[in-house]
């Protein structure tokens, strides 16, 4: 309850700060928020777009949150995402089995390889004392350039483009892709106007994987001794070591799981949305947004879920103020920055929160 109130106050303050910046730049904040609200919720298709947008954010957020619980700061989510995306794009192109085999296989490979990639940072910390922040910064760039190298490699590179070949249709997790354009599908949908609109964007099954992942991570942290040990390492490595927990091993395992989650985000993005990967000039920011999601969601699984949807909605609707009001959509980054800034200084909300909690208890 306290955590939720805190996050809520931070988000509110961040949105108010964004409003202030808009106001100072001569743009009506009321108008801007109206455009954003309508741009996010006024049509079923918008909500579908937000779900698509939120899926990778929920997963990278979950990844960062999980590592945080073991006291590790996973800046490497970005690189793990790239590795997951690359693996999915590559094997989705190379393999072509029945979807019931293909999809689990490609997903499993992506998660596995990216978990090794994430685990590498944990291992280097545990074995050699290399701080995970610096190793993951390096690993992010290594992943980026390696992915570029693979995109340009012969056989995988789509000639005369900046992208790789498309994955085989058997790898796609886009929901009812063929049915929607078939006669019976179009017939059925035209009789169901809400679903017709809602289904128009290419929804993909990634959101189900994200929900399952949130639940599993919650289970691990809440109900298993493994999770308990991870949290013990996070709270006090010395105490954990004294209690007989193999701290080094736990660090590696934690980063492996975090890496797998970010990789899953990358894989679902390729299999459900982009269908191929492109040359990257700079990081796309899924991992950094994941850090924001994790922080806003107070590093908990369900917090990441909520914050992932929130950030997805903010980013999706934020684009719309650019065209509607000619207001720079970067005000969204400013809002996110302000929210995180407030999260960094919990002390300023302590009094109001305690007051509210007191009133709450009296009832």
């Amino acid at each position: 309850m306290k955590k939720f109130l805190f996050s809520f106050l931070c988000v509110l303050s961040g949105l108010l700060f964004g409003a202030l910046i808009l106001k100072l730049s001569g743009i009506s904040p009321v108008e801007a928020y109206k455009v954003m609200w309508n741009g996010a919720f006024s049509r079923p298709s918008y909500i579908a777009y937000i779900i698509i947008r939120s899926t990778p954010l929920i997963l990278t957020g979950l990844s960062v949150a999980f590592a945080f619980r073991t006291g590790l700061f996973n800046i490497g989510s970005e690189g793990q995402f790239i590795i997951g995306a690359l693996t999915a794009a590559y094997f989705g192109f190379i393999f072509n089995f029945n979807p019931w085999i293909q999809i689990p296989l490609v997903l499993a490979l992506s998660v596995f390889i990216s978990s090794l990639y994430g685990g590498l940072a944990g291992f280097m910390k545990a074995r050699f004392g290399v701080h995970e922040v610096i190793s993951t910064i390096m690993l992010n760039w290594i992943a980026l350039y390696f992915s570029n190298y693979m995109v340009l490699s012969e056989g995988f590179h789509k000639v005369n483009t900046e992208t790789s070949e498309f994955i085989n249709p058997s790898t796609s997790i886009t929901i009812l892709e063929n049915w929607k354009s078939s006669d019976s599908g179009m017939n059925w949908l035209s009789n169901h106007p809400f679903l017709n609109e809602f289904m128009r964007p290419s929804l993909n099954a990634g959101i189900f994987f994200a929900l399952i992942a949130v639940f599993i991570i919650w289970l691990i942290l809440k109900k298993t001794t493994f999770g308990f040990k991870l949290k013990a390492v996070g709270i006090s490595p010395e105490a954990a070591r004294y209690a007989g927990i193999n701290v080094n091993k736990k660090m590696t395992q934690s980063m492996m799981i975090a890496g797998g989650l970010s990789g899953l985000a990358g894989a679902t993005h390729v299999m459900g949305v982009s269908k191929n990967i492109a040359i990257l000039a700079a990081h796309e920011g899924y991992g950094f947004d994941g850090i924001a999601v994790s922080l806003i969601g107070s590093n908990s699984p369900f917090g990441s879920l909520t914050a992932g949807f929130f950030l997805g909605a903010l980013k999706y609707s934020g684009q719309k103020i650019q065209s509607a009001l000619e207001a720079p959509s970067e005000v969204i980054s400013i809002m996110i920055g302000a929210i995180i800034f407030f999260i960094a200084i919990p002390i300023i909300f302590e009094r109001p929160i305690n007051k509210v909690l007191k009133i709450w208890e009296k009832k």
Binding site: G129, I137, M138, E330, I336, I348
Partner: protein, 289 residues
């Protein structure tokens, strides 16, 4: 010979923004405040420098404005980290979002909705001396100056003591917050100069992808350099050299090495050096507290 000279000058060129920024990081972290927001401060500095250089036509004013652009975000970081004793890593992440957010936001306001500033004329850029931008020399002078301040002056020793043992420093009568604030604010100013040395010297405009990760490389360089100014500058030169190598080797037809694979090299080497030769990286004792 000409090749060697090309390699040398390209190395210096690419190392310069990193040196400014990493030295800033050294000053902040020496006083015990983690500054993971260097990236955002650089971005802000790159934009404000470009803006002022365009509007006034004076690159030196632009450079100064770049410093203050970085400083403006550092004030926020100081408030969060020192005044409210908040989480420095989280605050630094916030600075990164704010830095790129504000820079592009204002860019769109000032330049008709575009996210790039118009290119500077050659004569409005930082001038060159003997084939190198003035900022290159400035970076080396600063390296020496910061080394001098940190090791030879009362101010520097106090800053270090605040980062190592804040409680003892406090007991000895030092104003701990004051020295920490100096560290954080100068780090912002220097990171801003780092951004400026990109946007008004190496290239001639600001664009959203201009900084793309260099602030983080600067952090790597300072850890690489074990939080010491001269070693940190050397680490930056190492990163500069590897970038120069990518351009140098990438431009020859006789050697067929994928430029993508070449680009990986500095990062892999950094990791290997960290794993193999450095052992535990130990920063200031009270870093982050």
């Amino acid at each position: 010979m000409q090749d060697l000279f090309f390699l040398f000058s390209t190395t210096l060129m690419y190392a310069t923004p990193l040196i400014f920024t990493a030295l800033g990081g050294v000053l902040s972290e020496k006083t015990g405040v983690i500054n993971i927001g260097l990236e955002g401060m650089m971005t802000m500095g790159a934009f404000t420098a470009s803006l002022v250089a365009i509007k006034t036509g004076n690159p030196w004013l632009g450079l100064l404005a770049g410093g203050f652009g970085g400083l403006s975000l550092a004030i926020l970081h100081a408030i969060a980290s020192i005044k409210y004793k908040g989480n420095q890593v989280v605050s630094g992440m916030a600075i990164n979002f704010l830095g790129s957010g504000f820079a592009i936001f204002f860019c769109r306001l000032f330049f008709d909705g575009t996210s790039m500033t118009p290119p500077l004329d050659l004569e409005k850029k930082i001038p060159e001396f003997a084939g190198q931008y003035a900022t290159v020399y400035l970076a080396f002078i600063l390296t020496f100056a910061i080394w001098f301040i940190l090791t030879k002056t009362v101010l520097g020793l106090r800053m270090i003591s605040v980062g190592e043992h804040p409680k003892s420093a406090d007991a000895a009568g030092l104003n701990v917050s004051f020295y920490k604030t100096i560290g954080v604010l100068t780090s912002g100013f220097l990171a801003g100069l780092g951004g400026a040395s990109l946007s008004i010297a190496i290239v001639s405009n600001f664009r959203p992808t201009l900084i793309s990760g260099q602030g983080f490389i600067a952090i790597a360089a300072l850890i690489f350099g074990k939080w010491r100014p001269v070693q940190t500058a050397l680490a930056c030169l190492f990163f500069g050299l590897s970038q120069a190598l990518v351009i140098f080797l990438g431009g020859r037809e006789t050697i067929h090495i994928s430029s993508q694979l070449l680009s990986i090299l500095p990062y892999v080497m950094t990791l290997m050096i960290l794993v193999g030769f450095m052992g535990k990286t130990t920063g200031p004792t009270a870093l982050g507290e």
